[in-house]
């Protein structure tokens, strides 16, 4: 019982990380129909920005978090405006190629700017351990991560579902021509979509840096870890990405606890395959998703 509970609780921060990156995939896909393969590297870049602001520039922790998320947001908008916008209306494969190129460019920039060594940031609460019944324990930092991510994802959900921005985004994604005739600036909307998704990724990078340390290889690892969760939940569903993240993280955690570390990827991807065989668009994805 202890192991099961500890595994479940212990995997919640990992699920939160997957969700934050995964929702970025979904938002960009929903808003611009682009599958962004640079999402993990953008997350890592956010972490490195946080490192530079907090450690190199000696900015206190919380202002550093805010600054790095804002910087990520601006980066996302810039990427869209400079690289994606000129290609609007092009085929999906071309846009996917562009995000792959972006992933390589950003990964190389990380190495050039921050070097190969693992970078660490001292974070308040990282070593404060809280104990619960059944011997379950979690650090104060992990609780803060889970609560923060839940709050951010709720805000994303409200923004997309209930706000004018969200309805415009849906309209632009479903029929850009009609949206434009209705006075929606599709281009600005898409830039904002990228900004929001990259801000989320940047926050994920901050969390990853605070809990694990930042290494150049982490970008692809984060992207590849979160992507199956998105596919599991459905590529165009924010709620699906969240649920997919929790399911995947917990399956991986339980596989490690009861079968061993070498089975975590195998079992995770096996479940993903089974779900896709039964429901090719994931658990909550719409049936309009194109086959790439």
């Amino acid at each position: 019982m202890h192991l099961a509970l500890q595994t479940f609780v212990g995997q919640l921060p990992t699920a939160a990380l997957y969700a934050l990156i995964g929702v970025g995939f979904v938002i960009v896909y929903r808003g611009t129909r682009v599958l962004n393969f640079a999402q993990g590297t953008l997350a890592l870049l956010g972490g490195y920005l946080f490192y530079s602001i907090a450690v190199s520039a000696h900015v206190p922790f919380w202002p550093a978090v805010v600054l790095s998320v804002v910087a990520s947001m601006l980066l996302g908008a810039s990427i869209y405006s400079l690289m994606l916008r000129p290609l609007l209306g092009e085929t999906a494969i071309l846009l996917v190629m562009l995000t792959i190129a972006l992933n390589i460019i950003l990964g190389a920039l990380d190495l050039i700017l921050w070097g190969g060594a693992t970078r660490f940031v001292n974070v308040p609460g990282a070593k404060t351990i809280l104990h619960f019944p059944e011997g379950v324990s979690i650090t104060a930092l992990d609780i803060a991560v889970v609560i923060s991510v839940a709050a951010v994802l709720t805000a994303f959900g409200v923004l997309l579902k209930w706000s004018r921005f969200g309805s415009h985004m849906r309209a632009a994604a479903e029929n850009p021509l009609l949206a434009t005739y209705r006075g929606i600036n599709v281009s600005t909307l898409a830039a904002m979509t990228w900004a929001i998704a990259t801000a989320g990724a940047g926050l994920a990078g901050v969390i990853y840096g605070a809990t694990n340390g930042l290494a150049p290889s982490a970008g692809n690892a984060l992207g590849f870890a979160a992507f199956p969760a998105v596919i599991l939940g459905g590529l165009d569903s924010v709620g699906g990405a969240l649920i997919g993240s929790v399911i995947l993280a917990e399956i991986q955690g339980f596989a490690v606890s009861y079968l061993g570390g070498r089975y975590s990827d195998v079992v995770g991807y096996l479940v993903l395959l089974l779900v896709l065989i039964i429901s090719p668009t994931g658990l909550f994805g719409s049936r309009e998703i194109a086959r790439l």
């Binding site: 595994t7 190969g116 021509l177 290494a215 984060l222 570390g261």
Partner: protein, 422 residues
């Protein structure tokens, strides 16, 4: 449905010729990929310490090649090794070179991919005609070994494998301790900190081939001591954290944990173990002995095996060569305590001394002979002499254990010098 937004929407600047737009789009994508390629090249292509021509025979320089991961999953280690090589050869070149000849380093990126490593090695041996090669990963080395052997190119490798040094391949030399050989000192040291019996051991290791040998030997030694192995977890390289594996290990109630985890996994592994109430000693291999690891964890009950000293403030220097190493690192704007930087520096240092004894010009066969009988006082770079022999191509023979001293806020040695076998 594929909507041409700009064609459809005047607001987005539509109405232009589709073909022109496509060509521009393809051009932009090509440019993006080209920039990506250039950046990859900037990270991973050749770098020269002298800027002279590539042929040693023509230019009068020694040419040393290296292949390592500068952009892939192990770039943190590969980059630090390359910086260490570069720092030493820059130092040497600034001080008159070797036998009056400067050294050119050609550092290539293999991205941890053996195919790239073999291609790099062919370029280095057949086109650049290097005097010697420095190789990082064991998987790359194993793949490139036939090329190196055929071209009679002596090679010093961080990731040497047991199969290449036992029996010794004439052109393959270890640039660090062999991971499998760390098992005995780790288990023996663990016995001194494990406390009362029965000792129940949890093992955590990164899922790579070299570590499997270390774990297998550790298991044998644990059994021989009458200890009980209660849990063994392999952490995949794809894992973003080792916390789930720590949960499984902690649940088995060990009173000792032995690890073979480098950064970044070691951080989450140790923190998760402590979070779940494990207070016993943790002993890690030298791959996870970076200064930053000890500092981040600041855990006095976390021990690491180490073949090289740290640059610790307020302590007397271990020796004259170590002082030069610190100066060379600072001249290259590198932190001497960056994980694996010292490894790269020392491997270049050993090669430099072998080239010095070999003379100029220096054939691969002659250099191999020199290396096979090399016996160097490292002046504090290692804990004892660095010596190869015809029967052993492992140069390091002594190690010591370190931990984080919370009162000094820096690493401190917790053992005397201990032998490490080949």
């Amino acid at each position: 449905m594929n909507i041409d937004l700009r064609k459809a929407s005047p607001q987005l600047g539509g109405g232009g010729a589709v073909r022109v737009k496509r060509r521009r789009a393809l051009g932009l994508t090509s440019t993006g990929l080209a920039v990506a390629g250039l950046l990859m090249a900037a990270c991973g292509s050749s770098s020269s310490s002298t800027g002279t021509t590539s042929s040693s025979a023509v230019s009068g320089t020694y040419v040393v090649g290296s292949t390592g991961d500068l952009s892939g999953p192990a770039a943190a280690v590969g980059g630090a090794l390359r910086n260490g090589y570069q720092a030493y050869f820059s130092y040497v070149n600034d001080h008159g070179g070797i036998n009056g000849h400067k050294v050119k380093l050609i550092a290539l990126d293999d991205g941890s991919n053996p195919t790239n490593g073999v291609a790099n090695t062919k370029q280095l041996t057949q086109i650049d005609h290097v005097n010697a090669e420095l190789v990082f990963l064991s998987t790359v080395l194993v793949a490139a070994a036939p090329v190196l052997e055929a071209s009679k190119t002596p090679t010093i490798s961080q990731g040497i494998t047991t199969s290449l040094v036992s029996p010794p391949n004439p052109y393959m030399f270890a640039g660090d301790v062999v991971i499998g050989a760390e098992a005995a000192p780790v288990v023996n040291f663990a016995a001194t900190v494990a406390g009362s019996s029965p000792v129940k051991v949890g093992i955590m290791s990164l899922q790579v081939a070299d570590n499997a040998n270390y774990v297998a030997k550790t298991e044998q030694l644990i059994k021989a001591k009458g200890w009980q192995m209660v849990n063994y977890q392999q952490v995949p390289m794809s894992a973003t954290t080792a916390a789930p594996e720590s949960t499984a290990v902690a649940a088995a109630n060990p009173n000792l944990v032995i690890m073979a985890l480098p950064e970044p996994w070691v951080i989450s592994a140790v923190q998760a173990l402590r979070q779940q109430g494990f207070t016993g000693p943790i002993v890690n291999y030298d791959g996870g002995s970076a200064y930053s690891t000890l500092k981040t964890l600041a855990d006095p009950n976390f021990y690491v095996i180490r073949a090289f000293p740290y640059d610790v403030a307020g302590q007397p220097s271990p020796g004259p060569e170590f002082t030069k190493f610190v100066a060379a690192a600072k001249a290259a704007s590198d932190d001497p305590n960056t994980g694996f930087f010292i490894n790269g520096y020392i491997q270049a240092w050993v090669l430099g001394h072998a080239l010095s004894q070999c003379g100029y010009p220096c054939s691969g066969q002659k250099l191999s002979t020199v290396l096979s009988s090399l016996n160097l006082n490292t002046g504090g770079l290692t804990y004892g002499n660095w010596s190869y022999s015809s029967s052993s191509h492992v140069g390091i023979h002594e190690i010591r254990f370190w931990h984080w001293d919370t009162s000094l806020s820096q690493p401190a040695a917790v053992s005397g010098l201990l032998p490490i076998g080949s």
